[in-house]
């Protein structure tokens, strides 16, 4: 049978962009219709921020600075870690929504349509990165309301801070999408992605690495969150960045590639 004259077939790239855009709009619509999960996940970093500043703030700052107690100094120390944790919390939601989505019949429909195959995943990834950025801005606003002020960061440093945030969001999102793909249900996805909220607790987010037991320091120092937190801290507050900048970028690129390959192979496998 000769195929009927199709309208001029769009190029691969324009098809990919168009379909990914459609999928992105679908995911943003989901997030807008059902914001409760996103907001619930934001609760963890916000509560920790308030708890550590107002309840533990005096003690913590005395311990870190070695001098007098200064809540606002501790808030400044704490915020970069809380912002990274916010990204971790947001992508837990991504893992859950990807896993839920994959169990829906609509994905089977997408697979039998002549659309760009990667667009389903790309839509989730871009949607999640945007959500992460919005979440970071919201938590940042809470910090500003509690008295955080960035002292003397240049426009370029702000830009770099934004870029780093987006890069971390991209890397963690790809990992979360992979986790969502291989999880049989939403509960499993949430459990699998939970380390992304826990890891910041054992990083330099709350206390400096050298306050930890010696055997534990290498783990805390080289896990993905610490270099990113130290870099952000350096950009916003002018502390020493050192090799952390490169480490952070290397971690992000590695996780992005790994998560990308993991998600692709999981998606291209025959569904059950």
């Amino acid at each position: 049978m000769s195929s009927p004259l199709a309208p001029t077939r769009p190029t691969r790239i324009s098809l990919a962009v168009r379909d990914s855009n459609t999928m992105l709009r679908r995911n943003l619509l989901h997030a807008r219709r059902y914001p409760s999960m996103t907001l619930n996940l934001l609760l963890t970093p916000v509560v920790l921020l308030l708890l550590f500043v107002y309840v533990f703030g005096d003690v913590m700052s005395a311990g870190i600075g070695g001098g007098g107690a200064d809540r606002s100094a501790y808030l400044a120390y704490l915020l970069p870690g809380i912002l990274m944790m916010t990204i971790g919390a947001t992508v837990v939601g991504t893992a859950v929504s990807v896993s839920t989505d994959m169990s829906e019949g609509i994905i089977a429909r997408f697979r039998t349509m002549a659309i760009h195959r990667g667009s389903v995943i790309v839509g989730h990834v871009i949607g999640s990165v945007l959500q992460s950025i919005v979440s970071v801005v919201l938590v940042g606003a809470v910090a500003v309301a509690t008295g955080f002020r960035s002292t003397g960061a240049t426009a370029l440093e702000w830009l770099a801070a934004f870029g780093l945030t987006a890069l971390v969001a991209l890397a963690l999102t790809w990992v979360a999408v992979g986790m969502g793909m291989v999880s049989p249900n939403a509960e499993a996805a949430s459990n699998n992605a939970y380390p992304l909220i826990l890891l910041p607790l054992i990083s330099s987010a709350f206390v400096p690495i050298d306050a930890m037991p010696g055997w534990f320091q290498p783990i805390a120092e080289y896990q993905p969150f610490t270099p990113a937190i130290e870099t952000l801290r350096g950009l916003l507050l002018g502390t020493e960045i050192g090799h952390n900048g490169w480490l952070a970028i290397a971690w992000c690129l590695a996780l992005t590639v790994l998560g990308y390959m993991w998600s692709q192979s999981a998606f291209n496998r025959d569904p059950k």
């Binding site: 679908r26 829906e104 089977a108 039998t112």
Partner: protein, 322 residues
């Protein structure tokens, strides 16, 4: 009933095989569906109907087989196959988190319709499937029948030439079932090819030009409903008695019958023609037998189904097995 006007095949499969581990689901089946016809794959649960649909609609890959859909090789160019088909699976493929209308517009976008055209198509199909009123409500709030209708409406957005319907009426009430049948007939009158799976014999009999009976991963029989019925010698005249004594004397007088002692009924093999019927009545008269109830049973797809899939022919032919 076979359409011979078009010799082009919408779906052609040779030696289609699929196994999960050491369980063979499809054991080298062949299918040939002429364009513009309704083909029904009939079989009990677990026969492999859904697997066949999943493979032919590019959702999963076959282990072996020469498979063409819409003239395109499934293995070589699945994307071209996807452009030609529409699929409504057994489990509803709608996005429950968004409204019915948004589901339709999503499909329009993925088929790259213009904004204007997309809105027009969505509105038209929602109206046709009686969903206009519910268009602004989330699909998760729809009843089972509404979800199925939305599902089918979404399948039709791209104007597919070949449509796969996997058990489209399972779980629907009679009214929804009949309206689904009406829609399927309308589609075919517009030149669309329909590949339908069902476990309802009635549905295959009602709709399909050709029927293949799938049993244990193999095609047990194929043909039009009439052809299949002709193959099975299930026709008989059934005599029922209320008086056990009359039943016993009739049973001993007529030797070549099948007895059903519990129901006090006798079955005399017969093709159901007027001549055969008259001969039986004459014979009964001359033997002095008067039954309380006489029914003529022509073979239906139930007989075919049970004979081919290894079950027994049921005694109550009008009782559709659900």
């Amino acid at each position: 009933m076979t359409k011979t006007t078009s010799h082009s095949l919408a779906i052609a499969a040779k030696g289609l095989r699929k196994a999960y581990g050491d369980k063979t689901v499809l054991d080298g089946i062949g299918l040939a569906v002429p364009a513009g016809s309704i083909f029904s794959l009939l079989g009990p649960n677990g026969a492999g109907k859904t697997t066949a649909v999943k493979i032919l609609s590019t959702l999963i890959t076959a282990d072996a087989g020469d498979l063409h859909v819409g003239g395109h090789d499934l293995a070589a160019d699945p994307q071209a196959v996807r452009a030609a088909i529409g699929v409504t699976g057994q489990f509803s493929a709608v996005d429950g988190l968004i409204t019915g209308e948004e589901n339709m517009l999503l499909m329009a976008d993925l088929h790259h319709l213009s904004r204007h055209e997309g809105r027009r198509t969505a509105a038209e199909l929602l109206d046709r499937f009686d969903l206009s009123e519910a268009a602004k409500k989330p699909a998760s709030s729809y009843s089972g029948g509404m979800r199925r209708r939305l599902d089918l409406a979404m399948t039709l957005v791209g104007d597919p030439r070949i449509i796969f319907l996997d058990e489209p009426t399972t779980g629907l009430d009679p009214r929804s079932r009949h309206s689904t049948w009406r829609i399927i007939r309308e589609l075919v009158s517009g030149g669309v090819t329909v590949f339908l799976t069902t476990q309802y014999l009635e549905e295959a009999d009602e709709l399909a030009d050709r029927i293949a009976v799938l049993s244990d991963g193999k095609i047990a029989a194929e043909g039009s409903a009439d052809e299949l019925k002709r193959r099975i010698p299930g026709g008989h005249v059934r005599l029922r008695f209320t008086d056990p004594a009359a039943y016993q004397s009739a049973a001993s007088a007529l030797r070549e019958v099948t007895r059903d002692d519990e129901a006090l009924a006798l079955q005399i093999p017969s093709g159901g023609s007027q001549r055969e019927l008259r001969a039986i009545l004459d014979w009964l008269d001359s033997a002095g037998i008067e039954a309380d109830e006489l029914t003529v049973h022509t073979p239906d797809l139930d007989d075919v189904f049970f004979a081919l899939t290894g079950g027994t022919v049921p005694n109550q032919p009008k009782e559709t097995v659900r």
